[in-house]
C-alpha cells in the first residue's frame, strides 16, 4: 500500500461525516459528524506532511485540533442554552429562514 490509501480513507471518512450532517436531526450528533470531518482532514494533513518531509502539516493539524476544541466548547454551550429555552435539540426546529 502507499500513502494514497490513507488519503482515500480520509476522503471516505469525510464523506461519511458530511452525509451524517445531512441525515441526523439531533444537534449534538450533527456536531459530532462535523468533528469527524475535521479529523479526516487532520489525517490528510499528517499524511502529506509525511509525504513532503516537512513538519508544517503536523503543525497545521495541531492548530486544527486546538480550534476544534474551542469550537466544541462554544458550540455545545450554545446547544445547551437552546435546549434550555426550547426543550428540544432538533435542528429542524430552526426553520424560519425561508420565503
Amino acid at each position: 500500500m502507499t500513502l494514497t490509501y490513507y488519503l482515500v480513507l480520509a476522503a471516505i471518512l469525510f464523506t461519511i461525516g458530511a452525509v451524517g450532517v445531512l441525515v441526523r436531526r439531533n444537534a449534538i450528533v450533527v456536531f459530532m459528524c462535523v468533528e469527524l470531518m475535521l479529523n479526516s482532514v487532520n489525517l490528510t494533513l499528517v499524511t502529506f506532511a509525511r509525504a513532503t518531509g516537512t513538519i508544517d502539516g503536523q503543525i497545521m493539524a495541531f492548530f486544527v485540533m486546538v480550534v476544534a476544541a474551542a469550537e466544541v466548547v462554544v458550540g455545545l454551550a450554545i446547544i445547551m442554552s437552546i435546549y434550555r429555552t426550547r426543550r428540544s435539540a432538533s435542528v429542524d426546529d430552526a426553520n424560519l429562514l425561508k420565503y
Partner: protein, 634 residues
C-alpha cells in the same frame, strides 16, 4: 408702398392694444375686489382706445404716404427665423380698428345693462377686453406671425365667452366645438406661415408681399388655399360653418360683437390683407369665390327654417360673410366692395343682435320666436332700431345694405364669364331668401297675435341698452351711402389696393339695383303670404317638406361632421385605449405577474430547514469537484 416709421400720436398706437389688455389683466387678476367697478373699467378702456384710434386715423389721413409702422420688440430670434413684433397702421387696418373699437364700445355700454343681474359681470368684461386687445393685434400686426398671435387670441376669447355660463352643458359643448373647428382652420394658416418662412425666409407683410412674386405658381396657389382654410375656420364658411350657430349659446353681446361684427370678419381681413398673394393666383381666387357663393346659399336656406331668433341671425351672418368672401375673391375689383359690405354689416348685424338681446331681456330670456308676437307696441325703441337694421340687411333702397350688396353683385357680374353669371345669380337668389327669412323673423317677433308664455311682461330696455342700439341703427341707415358714394371707401383704400379700375359694366348699375329691389320685395311678399297672413303655430309643425326639414337641421352639416370625423375619431381613441390597456398594460403587468409568480415558485426552494441548505452545499461541492476533475483531466 413704403412703410414709414411712426411719429407723434401714431407712435403710441401700441396703446390701442395695451389699454384693453391691461383692463383684462386688472379685472382677471384683481378678482372679486373689482366687481363693483369692473364693468366701468372695461368700458372705459375700449372707449379710450376708440378715441385714440380716431385721433391716429386723423393723423394718418394727413400723411402723404399713409402707411406707418411701429416696431415693438423682437418676438422670436432663432437661427434663420427672425420675427419682429410690430404694428402696421395703414388705411386697411385703420378701418378695422375703428370698427372694432367703435362697435366694441357700444356693445360694452350695452353689456353694462344686459349683464346687470349677472354676478359674473366683471369676468365678462375682462374677457371682452381680452377679445378687443387680441382682435386689435390681429388687424394691427405687421407680420403674419403677429396676425396669428391675435388670431389665436380671439379664438381663445371666443371660447371663453361662448362658455361664459360654463355650468350649462350646451354652452360648454358649443365652446369646445367652436374652438376645435377654429383650430382646424388655424392649421391652414399655420401651414401657410411655415410655407412662407420656408420659401421666402420671412413672415412680415413687407417681406412676403415683396418677394412672393418669385415663387412658383403652384406654391402661391397652395399658400392662397391654406390661407383660405384659416379664413374659413375663423369666419364660419363652408365646410367649417357649423360652429357659428351653436356659438349663440353665449350671451347676446358676445354674439353681437364677436360673431357678427368683428371676429368672423377676421377671415375677410386676412384675405384682403393677403391681396398681393391672391392677385397672383387665379385658382385660389376662384376657390374663394366658390366657397363664398356656396356658403351664402347654405346660410340663406338654413336661416329660413329656425325658430330660435339668434340662430336665424347667426345663419344670416354666415350668409353675409359669404357675400364678403365672394367679393374679395373677385380680385382687385372686389376688395373694396367686400370691405364696404363688411363695415356696413358690422353696424346692422350688431344692431340686430343687440335688438334681439333686448327682446330676449324683455321676454325672460326666451329665444323661441313662436313665443313672441305683437311686441311692436311693448318695445317701441327696440322695434324701430331692429326694423332699421332689418331694412338695411335686406337691401331696402338707399339704406346701407342696398349700396354694399349692390356693389358686390355688380362686380361679380362684371366678370362676364360663366363663373360671374353663376355666382352672381346665386347671390341674387340668396338676396331674395334673405328678405324672406328676415321678414319672417320680423313678422313672428313683432307682429301678429301675442303668443307669450304665462308670467311674461315685456318691457322696454333701460337707456344704457337702447342708446347703443340707436347709434347702431343710425349707422345702419347711413353707412352704406357714406362708404360707397359720399366718402368712397375705394379712395381711402387706394394706398392699399391701388387705383379702383372703372370696369366696363356689363349690366348697368341701375338695372341691378332695380332687379335686387324686385327680388327683395318678392321675398317679403312670400314671407307675408306664408307666415304673416296665417296664424303662427306655437309649436313647430312636424309634417314639413324635405327641404324645410333639412334646413331645420342646418342642412345636415352637423350630421356630416359627426359621421366623417367624430365617429372615426371616437373609434380610433377607443381602439388606442384598448391597445394601451391590453397591449401595453398587459405586457407590463404580464411581465410583473410572470416575475412574481416565478419568484414565489422559486421561493419554495427555501424550506427553512438547515439540512436542506446543507444538502445544497454538498451538491455544490460535488459539482465543483466534478468540474475541477473535468478541467484537469480534459
Amino acid at each position: 408702398m413704403d412703410v414709414l416709421p411712426a411719429e407723434g400720436l401714431l407712435a403710441a398706437s401700441w396703446l390701442l392694444i395695451a389699454l384693453p389688455l391691461a383692463g383684462a389683466a386688472v379685472l382677471l387678476l384683481g378678482g372679486r375686489r373689482t366687481d363693483r367697478w369692473g364693468h366701468l373699467l372695461g368700458t372705459a378702456t375700449v372707449v379710450a382706445a376708440f378715441v385714440l384710434a380716431l385721433l391716429c386715423t386723423f393723423q394718418l389721413a394727413g400723411l402723404d404716404e399713409p402707411s406707418v409702422g411701429v416696431d415693438l420688440f423682437t418676438f422670436i430670434s432663432a437661427g434663420d427665423l427672425d420675427v419682429e413684433m410690430g404694428l402696421l397702421y395703414d388705411p386697411l387696418s385703420a378701418v378695422f380698428v375703428l370698427l372694432i373699437t367703435g362697435v366694441g364700445s357700444l356693445i360694452h355700454i350695452y353689456s353694462i345693462g344686459y349683464m346687470a343681474h349677472d354676478p359674473a359681470r366683471r369676468r365678462f368684461f375682462a374677457y371682452l377686453n381680452l377679445f378687443v386687445a387680441a382682435m386689435l393685434l390681429l388687424v394691427l400686426g405687421n407680420s403674419f406671425v403677429a396676425l396669428y398671435v391675435g388670431w389665436e387670441g380671439v379664438g381663445l376669447a371666443s371660447y371663453l365667452l361662448i362658455a361664459f355660463w360654463y355650468t350649462r352643458p350646451a354652452a360648454a359643448t358649443a365652446a369646445k366645438k367652436a374652438f376645435i373647428m377654429n383650430r382646424v382652420g388655424d392649421v391652414g394658416l399655420a401651414l401657410a406661415i411655415f410655407l412662407m418662412f420656408a420659401q421666402l425666409g420671412t413672415t412680415s407683410f413687407e417681406g412676403v408681399f415683396g418677394t412672393v412674386g418669385t415663387l412658383a405658381g403652384g406654391t402661391i396657389t397652395a399658400m392662397g388655399l391654406l390661407l383660405l382654410l384659416g379664413a374659413c375656420g375663423k369666419s364660419g364658411q363652408f365646410p367649417l360653418q357649423a360652429w357659428l350657430p351653436d356659438a349663440m349659446e353665449g350671451p347676446t353681446p358676445v354674439s353681437a360683437l364677436i360673431h357678427a361684427a368683428t371676429m368672423v370678419t377676421a377671415g375677410v381681413y386676412l384675405i384682403a390683407r393677403s391681396a398681393p398673394i391672391y392677385d397672383l393666383t387665379e385658382t385660389a381666387r376662384t376657390v374663394v369665390m366658390a366657397i363664398g357663393a356656396l356658403t351664402l346659399l347654405i346660410g340663406a336656406i338654413a336661416g329660413c327654417a329656425y325658430d330660435d331668433i339668434k340662430k336665424v341671425l347667426a345663419y344670416s351672418t354666415v350668409s353675409q360673410i359669404g357675400y364678403m368672401f365672394l367679393a374679395v375673391g373677385l380680385g382687385p375689383a372686389g376688395y373694396v366692395a367686400g370691405l364696404a359690405h363688411l363695415l356696413a354689416h358690422g353696424f346692422f348685424k350688431a344692431g340686430l343682435f343687440l335688438g334681439a338681446g333686448s327682446v330676449m331681456h324683455a321676454m325672460n330670456d326666451q329665444v323661441d320666436m313662436r313665443r313672441y308676437g305683437g311686441l311692436w307696441k311693448k318695445l317701441p325703441v327696440t322695434f324701430v332700431t331692429f326694423g332699421l337694421g332689418y331694412l338695411a340687411l335686406i337691401g331696402f333702397p338707399f339704406l346701407a345694405g342696398y349700396f354694399t350688396k349692390d356693389a358686390i353683385i355688380e362686380a361679380t357680374f362684371d366678370r362676364d364669364d360663366w363663373l360671374g353669371w353663376t355666382f352672381g345669380g346665386i347671390a341674387v337668389l340668396a338676396a331674395g331668401l334673405t328678405a324672406f327669412y328676415m321678414t319672417r323673423l320680423m313678422l313672428m317677433t313683432f307682429f301678429g297675435r301675442a303668443r307669450w308664455e304665462d308670467g311674461v311682461h315685456p318691457h322696454e330696455s333701460p337707456a344704457v341698452m337702447t342708446v347703443p342700439m340707436v347709434v347702431l341703427a343710425v349707422g345702419s341707415v347711413f353707412s352704406g351711402a357714406l362708404l360707397v358714394s359720399i366718402f368712397p371707401l375705394s379712395d381711402w383704400m387706394e394706398p392699399v389696393f391701388g387705383e379702383p379700375e372703372e370696369a366696363a359694366h356689363v349690366i348697368a348699375p341701375a338695372t341691378i339695383g332695380i332687379a335686387l329691389t324686385a327680388i327683395m320685395l318678392l321675398g317679403v311678399l312670400a314671407a307675408w303670404l306664408f307666415v304673416g297672413r296665417r296664424e303662427v303655430p306655437v309649436t313647430a309643425p312636424v309634417r314639413v317638406s324635405p327641404i324645410t326639414r333639412a334646413a331645420r337641421h342646418g342642412l345636415y352639416a352637423d350630421a356630416v361632421n359627426e359621421s366623417l370625423f367624430m365617429r372615426p375619431g371616437q373609434w380610433l381613441t377607443r381602439a388606442l385605449v384598448w391597445v394601451d390597456n391590453r397591449g401595453v398594460d398587459g405586457a407590463v403587468n404580464g411581465l410583473a405577474a410572470t416575475l412574481g409568480g416565478s419568484s414565489s415558485r422559486l421561493g419554495r426552494a427555501q424550506t427553512g430547514f438547515v439540512r436542506t441548505y446543507a444538502l445544497g452545499m454538498l451538491g455544490g461541492a460535488v459539482l465543483v469537484a466534478g468540474a475541477l476533475l473535468a478541467v484537469t483531466a480534459g
